[in-house]
């Protein structure tokens, strides 16, 4: 399947036009969906997320919270993951990533509906702090979603590459790709056809607490995440006694 540039994707998402700009690998702007203004942030060119980039995305999100209360946010994901440079570790890049994740969470708390779309690549840490923080996460069919490539995985785990490759053909846990993340519940839908209509529908969808574990169970991709979390939550307690606080998750 052909890769699409952010521009092609944006043109298809927003047929009525948009005001999204790229500055380097950073994307930001606004557009209209069904007559409703939305804010767009994201990255392109398989962006490496260094401390500056994480802070830039965080700035854009905080600006929306301050200046456009309640406006939905679309995160366009194309990232190679965190910068692997010494200088970024010196600066505490994990803190910048955590800050970005907290900003997305804060936007959620302020009532912003947050949707992410993986239109190209989503690798590990860059994805966790942004796209995976959204209420709903979507992917184009050709999206490449993974932790790291099989070669590096083999090097770190000291398991033969051939063996990992063979296993990854049958195991959704090891193999990259949108379909596997769908099965495991981390991707809500894979969009094909009229992606503008899909986005409009996504923005109308009601959202609640993190549903990924239960979706992973329904779809047969992750059997234990949900049940184990529930067991820990209720272990040794009587489920029939109402909790003192309202329930979540």
């Amino acid at each position: 399947m052909e890769r699409r540039s952010w521009r092609e994707v944006a043109d298809q998402l927003f047929r009525g036009g948009h005001r999204i700009e790229a500055r380097g690998a950073f994307l930001s702007g606004s557009a209209t969906v069904d007559g409703t203004a939305i804010s767009v942030v994201g990255t392109t060119d398989h962006a490496t997320i260094d401390a500056e980039m994480a802070l830039r995305i965080a700035s854009a999100i905080l600006r929306v919270v301050r200046e456009a209360p309640g406006r939905p946010i679309l995160i366009l994901v194309d990232t190679n993951g965190p910068s692997l440079r010494h200088r970024d570790e010196l600066l505490g890049i994990n803190t910048y990533m955590a800050h970005l994740a907290k900003c997305v969470e804060m936007a959620r708390r302020f009532g912003h509906h947050i949707v992410s779309l993986i239109y190209d690549r989503a690798l590990s840490g860059g994805f966790i702090a942004s796209g995976m923080m959204a209420d709903l996460c979507f992917a184009l069919p050709q999206a490449e979603i993974r932790v790291m490539n099989i070669r590096a995985m083999a090097q770190v785990t000291k398991i033969a590459r051939e063996r990992l490759e063979r296993l990854s053909r049958s195991s959704p846990v090891l193999a990259p790709g949108a379909e596997n993340y769908f099965k495991m519940g981390a991707v809500d839908e894979i969009w094909s056809g009229d992606i503008g209509a899909h986005l409009a529908a996504a923005l109308r969808q009601a959202v609640g607490p993190d549903q990924r574990a239960s979706r992973g169970l329904e779809r047969g991709g992750r059997h234990l995440a949900g049940p184990v979390a529930q067991k820990v939550r209720w272990y040794g307690r009587d489920r029939t006694i109402p909790a003192t606080c309202d329930r979540q998750g």
Partner: protein, 301 residues
């Protein structure tokens, strides 16, 4: 009377839990007898652990009610797989129900367990979401970092999502560990065998000077318990104003330090005297000097 120190760094996760909590106060959720193990390791012919490398439960610290988790660095480097992650996520959901005085995380982890790649990545994301949702409901979350593996990858992000981080001088905190940096950029980027370089990049002292941990303590369980106690008393919260203040601080950090390439140059830029001697100082002598860095970040500019 001289009370012998109890080392935290050398202890197992279970021993750490017992030592940090008040005597006999620990109650484990899903103990090893329940045999909840990873479903993904057998296809790689790898052994499982009956707690999947993380102990979760409840107890008290100086009488204050906490929920607590401890990662076991000796099992797959404390890395997060599906079950391991779900235990942490479930603990935060429980915290929202039970409203303890804090959730305390004794972290030691290389991040996502690559043997469960995708499931591990999603699990870390679920931990972050559950942690921040709990904080949004007023639950205080504290991290303690010490131990041979350090705290890296997604768990490095988790640590910095907490209200406060307590680090041992021997602790290490970051995103990509030294071996990963060297693998990606070569030995010129970072020589992972250069211990002094690794410590001054990831170690407790540098993190404390940057403000990435609130407490820097000796390898002594009593000191950790005291820091937890202090952190329980400190002002805390997760509101927009605090996030904006953090944002300004992180902007300032880039302005002041992003052009520098070694921790020692950064400490010099913070106005610390004789920065090259700092790695050798014991905490009693280091702490007063470090306060200058803390006031640097609080100052205007």
């Amino acid at each position: 009377m001289i009370v012998p120190r109890t080392s935290y760094v050398e202890a197992t996760a279970r021993r750490r839990v017992e030592a940090v909590l008040d005597h006999d106060s620990f109650w484990e959720f899903l103990p090893p007898e329940e045999r909840v193990t990873s479903p993904h390791l057998s296809q790689l012919d790898l052994p499982v652990a009956f707690d999947d490398g993380v102990v979760v439960g409840g107890g008290t610290v100086q009488g204050r009610r906490v929920l607590l988790a401890a990662q076991e660095g000796a099992f797959m480097g404390g890395a997060v797989g599906e079950v391991h992650g779900a235990k942490l996520t479930g603990l935060f959901a429980r915290a929202v129900d039970e409203r303890p005085d804090a959730v305390v995380l004794l972290l030691e982890s290389g991040g996502v367990r690559l043997h469960e790649a995708n499931a591990g990545l999603i699990a870390v994301s679920e931990i972050i979401r559950a942690l921040l949702a709990a904080r949004g409901r007023g639950i205080r979350v504290l991290a303690v970092i010490g131990g041979g593996v350090g705290c890296f990858g997604g768990m490095g992000i988790v640590a910095r999502c907490c209200d406060a981080v307590i680090m041992l001088e021997e602790g290490r905190l970051g995103m990509s560990g030294p071996e990963v940096i060297e693998m990606a950029g070569g030995v010129e980027e970072l020589d992972s065998r250069d211990k002094a370089l690794v410590w001054r990049t990831f170690g407790g002292k540098h993190r404390y000077l940057l403000g990435d941990c609130e407490y820097l303590v000796e390898d002594d369980v009593a000191a950790i318990r005291e820091s937890i106690h202090q952190a329980l008393e400190a002002a805390s919260g997760f509101e927009l104003e605090q996030l904006e203040a953090e944002h300004a601080l992180l902007e300032k950090r880039l302005r002041e330090l992003a052009h520098l390439h070694d921790a020692i140059d950064m400490w010099r830029a913070l106005g610390l005297p004789d920065p090259d001697t700092l790695p050798m100082l014991d905490l009693a002598r280091f702490t007063p000097i470090a306060h200058r860095a803390r006031s640097f970040w609080k100052g205007e500019g």
